[in-house]
Amino acid sequence: MATVRTEKLPLQTPEDVVRVRQAVRAWSVEIGFSLVDQTKVVSAASELARNTLVHGGGGTCEMEILQAYTRRGLRLTFVDQGPGIADVEQALKDGFTSGNGLGLGLGGARRLSNEFEIRSQPGAGTQVQIVRWK
């Protein structure tokens, strides 16, 4: 599996979340995702970008176009150095929220992605990685 292209975007303001959505949309179009798949990956990115900003206190989103044989995919990695998540399993459950949201962000992003991986330690930040394949 090769990485065709990569770019890292900052996530420090609500406007940065919009910029991440727009960049993910542009790359999804370029990869040739269907309209529904574009919408799914942009929505997942929006949820995770907001988490990075609101719960992680800001961070980055790394975008990568992957090539595996003839298959192309989009990998997004959200990283923050925030407080981390004590119970990842609980955080993935629908309806669980530490803030005043609906608690659909993490679980929703997982459902909207082909691959989902989360690494978090209390005090050491959180990294969430998703992949959508064409």
Binding site: V17, V36, V42, S46, G101, L102, G108, L112
Partner: protein, 135 residues
Amino acid sequence: MERIPILKMGPFLLVSIQVDMHDRLALTLQDDLTEQIVRHRARGVLIDISALEVVDSFIGRMLGNIAAMSRVLDAETVVVGMRPAVAITLVELGMSLSGVRTALNVERAMEMLQASLAVSTAIPGGEPANGHRPD
């Protein structure tokens, strides 16, 4: 400050969201709408989201909040023009937007708002048919 315009048309308020909203802008719209419902004594709110390519849980929650708040303020909300890909994604995300009335186009939404206005004004002992509310 950046704002989504709210238009008044008779007893209704019309909003067409044409930009990719950041979260603060969505919250401002929510506050502006509730304030204008009271100021204009609006009986209905029509929100056009046909230009929105993505409705995530935050925007979904905003739509639900607006519908709930306007109901408490005696106004109906209808959300118009959701794209099919957005509907598929919202449901997969886990949001069914229960409590939010939707219509496929503006004509249907106006019919829905006018129908609920007619029902509420036809209640015996309710407010007069000319829509004037005594102070």
